[in-house]
Structure formats: C-alpha cells, structure tokens
C-alpha cells in the first residue's frame, strides 16, 4: 500500500507513464525517450531552473520540466508550437549575447548551445543588442575561462560547491552584467579538478593546455583507467594523431565522471620528449643506446650467468604498482618459473 501511494501516473505527449512520486517531468519524459532540451540542468547537480529552455506545457502554462515534479493525472505537452516558439526565443536571447566564434571555439562540436542553435536553426538572433565584453583572461595554467561565452547556467558554481566542496567561484554583479568569477575577480586558484570544465555546456570553460590541439571531429576517444591513485577513475582519452590532448570521463563511471587535477590535466607525460625510446646498456661506465637484440642478449646472458653461478636466489625482481595485472602476473611468473626464485616484491605494497 505504502508503495502504491508513491506511484504517480501522468501523460506526456499523449503517452501514459507511471513514475515514483518526486520524479521530475524531465526525468519522466526521458524514460519515454522524449527529449527535452536543457542547458542548466545536470543530472549530478541540484536543480537550478535558470536557463528556462526545458519548459513544457502543463494546463497551457509553461513550466520548467527540470524542476517541476510530476503529479497524478498531469498532462504534459513537451513541444507544442507555443512552447517551441518560447524555447526558440530563449535560445535566441542567449545567442544575442554570445560571441559568434564557433570557428575557433574549443567546444565546437560538443557544445550544448551550438547544438540547440543548430536544432532551432538560429543563424542570426532576432533579439539583437549589446554583448558583454570582458577583456581580462584568467592567468591560471589549467582552465581557460572565457566569460563572454558564459550562459550563466550555474553548473560550474554548483559542481564546485556541491561536488568538489571547494566553492572557488560564484556569481558576481547583477542584471546583464552578472558574471561568474572567483572572489574579487582574482585568477582562479583552486584544486583545478576541472569539474567545472566537465559540466560547462559551452566554450566558457575549457582546458587551457588543450587549446588549438585538435577539433572534435579529428579526435579519437578511448576509454581507459587513470594511471595515478588507486581510485581507478575511468578516463576517456582524447587523442589527436599520436598525442593525448585532453581527458574526460564517462558520467556513469565509478567516479561519476569526476576527476582530479592529475587525471584531468596530468597526462601530458605520455607524450613527453623525455620518454625512453631505445634500450640503453652500460659500457665503460656510461649508458649508451643499444638495439633490443643487444639489450636482450646481454640481459639474458647476465641473468643466466648469475643464476648458474650463484643460484636463482641471487636474483630478485621488483615489480610495479603502475603496471597492469597481466604484466605483474608475467613478472612474478618470470621470476618464479624462468629464474626459479620467490624473490619478488613490489615497492608499494604497503
């Protein structure tokens, strides 16, 4: 009985659906695969209700579907001409205060605003007028903050406070001049987790080290795991040619799509010019480049020699907490089966 009380049934665009009470209209519509555009809504953050593009019609009145809970018997229309026109005009208003520079925007191709402009085919806005111009750019090395592109959805403010617990940025000023910035408009100085980049729907917040390194369509994305701490965060590495230029993370991962500064910005070591590229063998006291054949032969010969003269326990191996399971398995197998010793350990087991 108790359970039944919490079940609600409503219709959306003529389709019936039952949901748990407290479910928003947006969530209910998504269950029906009805898509409603959003800009400020983010599934991992509390509702904001700021952008207003997710409006739907209930009893002839537009309500924001991301904040309005479904009610018993509700009849929702998600895309009447009335609603679609209002929506179009809201997007138009946002675009009227947006730099038209998608051609150099890092977010082009994955920008939620660009997507909506495309969907509603808004080439030049009807509502034309002054645009906010902000000369100052932030000097921090990680996050490019171009507040002229900010649509004030508030996602960054929420993620920084609600998820990251830092609160490095907030709204400042009011009216048309409302702006999101660190206190006193100082340069950002925070944990640089980049969560704000992850949630920003536009090019207002992007990864600074990635600027100009590759467009969306030229990028390969590969899912893998972060090489740093033991959290095992899921990464999506964005590679352009043979360079890893950016990182993101899937929303439904164990890390819920969030990363820390190391996972988000700390992977350029992969393409570091310092990487070891050839085997080195010490000759006359100095390490000199060698072929693999030479290195293998030399190594195997020396190990065999030591095993044969001093016994297998004169050899040991230290393995790595950064290598894969398979490599670690092979490593201990090598020492145990090929060398014949249990002298195997890894430095970081404590």
């Amino acid at each position: 009985m108790e359970k039944l009380k919490n079940i609600i049934s409503l219709t959306i665009d003529g389709q019936r659906i039952t949901v748990q009470s407290g479910t928003t209209i947006l969530a209910a519509a998504r269950k029906l695969d009805i898509s409603i555009p959003v800009l400020c809504h983010h599934p991992k953050l509390t509702a904001t209700g700021a952008c207003r593009v997710c409006i739907v019609e209930v009893n002839g009145i537009p309500v924001t579907s991301c904040t309005t809970a479904a009610e018993e018997g509700m009849e929702v229309i998600t895309a009447s001409p009335y609603i679609e026109n209002l929506r179009r005009d809201i997007i138009d208003l946002i675009l009227s205060d947006h730099p038209y520079d998608c051609m150099v925007c890092e977010r082009a191709g994955s920008c939620e605003l660009q997507e909506l402009a495309y969907k509603y085919q808004i080439r030049t806005p009807v509502f034309r007028g002054e645009r906010r111009i902000y000369p100052k750019r932030d000097g921090n090395p990680f996050i490019e903050r171009d507040m002229e592109k900010c649509i004030l959805c508030g996602r960054c403010v929420k993620v920084c406070d609600e998820v990251q617990g830092v609160g490095a940025i907030d709204y400042a000023y009011k009216g048309f001049q409302t702006k999101i910035c660190p206190p006193f408009e100082r340069d950002l100085s925070c944990e640089f987790c980049g969560q704000c980049i992850t949630v920003c729907p536009t090019g207002a917040l992007v990864s600074k080290p990635s600027l100009g390194k590759g467009r969306q369509q030229d990028i390969r994305k590969v899912a893998t795991i972060c090489p740093y701490c033991g959290c095992g965060c899921n990464l999506t590495l964005h590679a352009h040619k043979n360079e890893v230029i950016r990182t993101s993370s899937p929303k439904d991962s164990i890390n819920e799509g969030w990363l820390c500064v190391k996972g988000k910005f700390g992977l350029s070591f992969i393409n570091s010019p310092d990487r070891l590229k050839t085997p080195l063998v010490r000759k006359n006291g100095v390490l000199v480049e060698a072929s693999w054949e030479e290195a293998f032969t030399y190594t195997a010969d020396r190990l065999k020699q030591i095993r044969d003269t001093r016994g297998p326990d004169a050899i040991g191996g230290l393995s790595s907490a950064r290598c894969t399971n398979e490599e670690n398995y092979l490593f201990q197998k090598f020492l145990r089966a090929a060398v014949g010793t249990n002298n195997v350990d890894h430095c970081a087991r404590y």
Binding site: G165, C229, L303, K304, I315, K333, F334, A337, A348
Partner: protein
C-alpha cells in the same frame, strides 16, 4: 596487508567506493583523502551532505577536516592508543555488537577486554594529545551509527608498528559489527593505480597469485602443473630484504620494472648504496629515473596509454586499460619484454594476446575466474571475488562469513615509534603527498601546468614553531635527521600541530626520503616508518 589477512583471511578494501555515500558515520584515520584520493573524498563529502557524520584522525589539519564533525589531532604514531581509547569507551558504554561478536568472531576474551579496559580515554589523551572528550565523542558517533566505515592509508601503515595499527582498526570494526554489510567495513585506500593488482597477482615473496602461499605443497603443485615447471619451495625476500641482501653480497642481480625506489624508499643513501653494490641491475621504465640511472641495462617500456590489460583499483574492481597511442621510438610493451627475456632464459611464454594471460590468471585464482575481457567491456568493471561467468562481482566482502572462518580479535598495545624526537632532533617529520604531484614525480613533474602551480618542495611548519625558529614563508631551512639532511623552503602553515613538520616526498631536489629511516621496519610487514622521523630544523 598482512594485518588484514591475519584478521579476516584476506586483505583488501572490504567495501566499495559507491557505498561510501550511504554511510552514517565515516572514520578517516591517517588518510589525507582530499589530496591523495580526491575522488573518494568526493563520495565522503556527498555522504556528509546526506547527513553522515565524519570523524577525522590526523596529525595534520588535512583539507577534508573542513567537512568533518570531529577532528582528532593525534601525535604522529600514536594511533593504537587513540583506537584503544575509543574501544574503551565503546566497551564501557555497552555499544558493542554482541550478536556479531558471538557469531562471527573469536578472541574477544578476558585478556582482550582487560587490555582495552586499561586504555582509558585519560591515558589515551596523555599519549595522543587528543582531549578525552573528543575521544569519547568519536567513539560514540562511530559505535552508534548503523553503518560506519573506516578509511585509512599510509598514515596508518607506514609505521614501525603499522600492522598493529591495522589490527587495532580491525578490532574496532569487529567490536561494533561493522563488517560484512553495506556501507561499512575496513577500507585501506590504495595509493597507486594498481597496488591492489600487483598484490593480487602475487608479486610478493610469500604468495602466488590470489594470496596462495608458496610454502603450501598443494598450492605449489597446482602452479607447477599450470606453469609446467618445478617451483622454489621457500619464501623469497621482501623488497627491503633484497636491498639488505645486496649490501651483504648475497643478492647479485635485480630486475626492477616500473619503480623508482631511490626516491620512494626510505633512507636514500642506503638505497643507492645497495643498488650500486649489485653485479647487475636491470631497470625497465618509461623515464630515466634516479634508479634507472644506476642500472646496467635500461629497457624502454610503455605507458598505460600504449598498451592493453587490466588494472584493479582499491575496491577490488578489475577494469580494462586500452591502447590510445603508439609507444615512442623503440619502446616495447612490458609483457613483450618479459616474454622475450623469459624465452631467452630458457622458459618460453608463448602468449599471442594479452587476454590469454588474463585467462591464465583466472585459472590460477578462482576469485577472478568469472571475469573476461568481453564482460569487462560490456559491464565496465567487476569486483573480485567473481568466480563464475554469471557472478555479478562482490561489492562488499564477508557477507556470508570470513575466509578464515571467524574473524579474530588481536590484542594490541601501544608501542612508541622507534624514531622519537629528542633534544638533538626535536621535531617529528611526517611525509606524504600533495594534491598536484604524484609519488616520485616522474609523471606529474613532466606536466608543465602542474609544475607551474606546485613545482617546488616545501616543509610545512606550524606558525608557533616558525616563530620560535624565526622562520617565515619562503625561508630556506636545513632539515637534518639521523639519516641525512636537505635544504628546503619553509611554508608556515596551521596544518601540522606544534612540533610536527611535513615534507611531500615528490621532489628529488629535496627528497624527503633522504631523511627517513630504513631501520624502523614493521616486524611483520617490514614496512618502513615513513611517517615518523625525528628531525632538526635550522635556518641556512
């Protein structure tokens, strides 16, 4: 890990990261979670925002303290006293879970209770410096919570009595029945991406893959059969044992894959001396590390982005690593290098694909038998034990009992750390990580923006100590221990308490491990006491 294995019969995080947000109480001890496990910290913050109570025990005011209901600033190395004090309160207040104790544990006997009975909050206050009211409150919050989880890292283990610390933590959880259920447990947070995996895979001198003892004949026979070769019968040397053996001339060759002990092990000069005394040192790495520089042969390996395989994270979750880019130059996959060497040593390892290795792991260790690459691709990650192809994996352990039958209480008494401050070395140094850098820095220090914001070593000194030393922010000081000395800039900070200083160990130019001691090893785990070193500080 030996600690947990003793108590439960297996050593790993008992519960999952996702469960954290549903805890009612969290006890974080010896873990700077917000900096070292930032994503775990996010779950903790979420739990707090949902109403959970967070207790933090740490000698430093770590960033997570901002979210805590209670912060216990114990003196470094006094964790056992603190934990025993808390257990005293729980016993006294009758907050133990007697049903759990009776059914699922052993060793909760007269002696154990007597030992705890002697550890009053008053005596704990004397040792730890934590006011007894706080000890009482922490004990009550933890014990009264329906679901309470304990989280710890190196702050607990890297001590001359690290195993005692772990056993003590286990006692606390057992006493209150916080095991074998969701959102609770004893949870060591692993510091590196695949420590769990390296341990699981048997890169340990006493254990085969899957925590199977090398000294048990039946086990050995199984592996001999699997690998088709006769295997050694006695346990091997632990890492620091190998270094000692090298110095003694007993160990002649060392093969190091992807580690940099010169920087990450205690007492750098000792490590260097040991490695230099080897006849043959092979280092396989992606960068020319301090350790590689000492090698006879350096083999260029591949980074995680250039190979396929699996990592196992701190919550026992096996996940897929995939190739994104090509390795630079002639760099070769680690597995190929090992296979090639093995073949040339007369033992061929004819794998055609990495997954074949993975399948073999499943044969060697039933807990992973149910996991396959295709399942991982589809399901995204599986937590061992996962014995069969239709098993969903195990988010939390010990639901239906402990591998060793009943979990054992252990009597633990506080023993002071070996490194004690004295007139000559009046400060207690603790080492650790900072948010922006990682380990020996071979990766993060090559990332320009990271270097820009956090590229300099420092020593954190409490403002009052700084005043006494006439040191301000940026003053260069010499820090000397019984092992060595270094110079570094001071950062005056309220994070450490009086008499405690902190140096991150990422920086070769001020390598904290020049100072630490390789002597104060834990008697069981042989873990060095990286968290407590007596030092002296002087202005230069």
């Amino acid at each position: 890990m030996a600690g947990l294995a003793t108590v439960f019969g297996s050593g790993a995080m008992t519960n999952s990261l996702a469960e954290i947000e549903n805890n009612d109480a969290l006890f974080v001890i010896g873990s700077n979670t917000k900096e070292n496990h930032p994503i775990v910290a996010l779950r903790m913050i979420k739990a707090v925002r949902k109403g959970a109570k967070l207790i933090i025990a740490d000698p430093r005011r770590v960033p997570l303290v901002r979210f805590a209901h209670l912060w216990l600033q114990q003196r470094p190395g006094t964790d056992v006293a603190l934990l025993n004090g808390m257990m005293h309160v729980i016993l006294n207040d009758g907050l133990t879970d007697s049903a759990f104790i009776a059914e699922r544990t052993e060793g909760f006997d007269e002696n154990f209770r007597k030992n705890i009975g002697e550890c009053t909050p008053e005596s704990a206050e004397k040792i730890t410096g934590v006011p007894k009211e706080k000890i009482v409150e922490a004990a009550r919050i933890y014990a009264r919570a329906e679901r309470a989880g304990i989280y710890y890292t190196m702050g607990i283990t890297q001590h001359s009595h690290g195993t005692d610390n772990v056993l003590s933590i286990a006692n606390l959880a057992l006493m209150t029945g916080n095991l074998g259920k969701e959102s609770s447990g004893v949870n060591p947070l692993r510091g590196q991406n695949n420590v769990q995996g390296a341990t699981d895979m048997g890169c340990l001198p006493n254990l085969f893959p899957g925590y199977q003892r090398v000294t048990v004949p039946a086990v050995r026979r199984k592996f001999e059969e699997l690998w088709g070769v006769k295997l050694p019968e006695h346990e091997g040397l632990m890492a620091n044992g190998m270094l000692d053996a090298a110095l003694e001339g007993k160990l002649k060759a060392l093969y190091i894959m992807g580690e940099n002990p010169v920087l990450s092990d205690p007492d750098m000069s000792h490590t260097k001396k040991a490695l230099s005394s080897l006849d043959f040192l092979v280092v396989q790495d992606i960068f020319m590390t301090e350790t590689a520089a000492l090698a006879h042969v350096v083999l260029p390996a591949t980074s995680f982005a250039e190979k396929v395989g699996t990592f196992t994270n701190t919550e026992r979750r096996v996940q897929r690593v995939r190739r994104v880019v090509d390795a630079p130059g002639l760099a070769m996959k680690d597995s190929h290098i090992i296979m090639e060497l093995s073949g040339r040593m007369g033992y061929s390892m004819p794998y055609h694909h990495t997954e074949e290795v993975f399948q073999e792991i499943g044969k060697a260790w039933p807990a992973m038998a149910g996991i396959s690459y295709s399942r991982l691709d589809e399901e995204g990650g599986l937590q061992w034990p996962c014995p069969t192809a239709d098993h969903p994996g195990t988010p939390f352990l010990f639901k239906n009992g402990f591998p060793r039958g009943k979990a054992a209480f252990s009597m633990v008494q506080y023993t002071p750390s070996i490194e004690q401050p004295d007139a000559e070395y009046p400060f207690t140094l603790t080492t650790g990580r900072m948010l922006f850098q990682y380990h020996g820095g071979s990766m993060t220090r090559r990332v320009a923006p990271i270097e820009q914001v956090a590229g300099e070593p420092y020593i954190e000194i409490n403002p009052e100590d700084a005043r006494d030393l006439a040191v301000t922010n940026g003053t260069v000081v010499t820090v000397a221990s019984r092992q060595g000395s270094l110079t570094v800039k001071a950062q005056v900070s309220a994070r450490p308490g009086r008499g405690v200083v902190f140096i991150p160990f990422h920086f070769r130019e001020a390598a904290a491990n020049v100072l630490t001691s390789s002597k104060g090893l834990d008697p069981i785990c042989r873990i060095p006491s990286l968290k407590v070193t007596a030092v002296r500080i002087e202005k230069t």
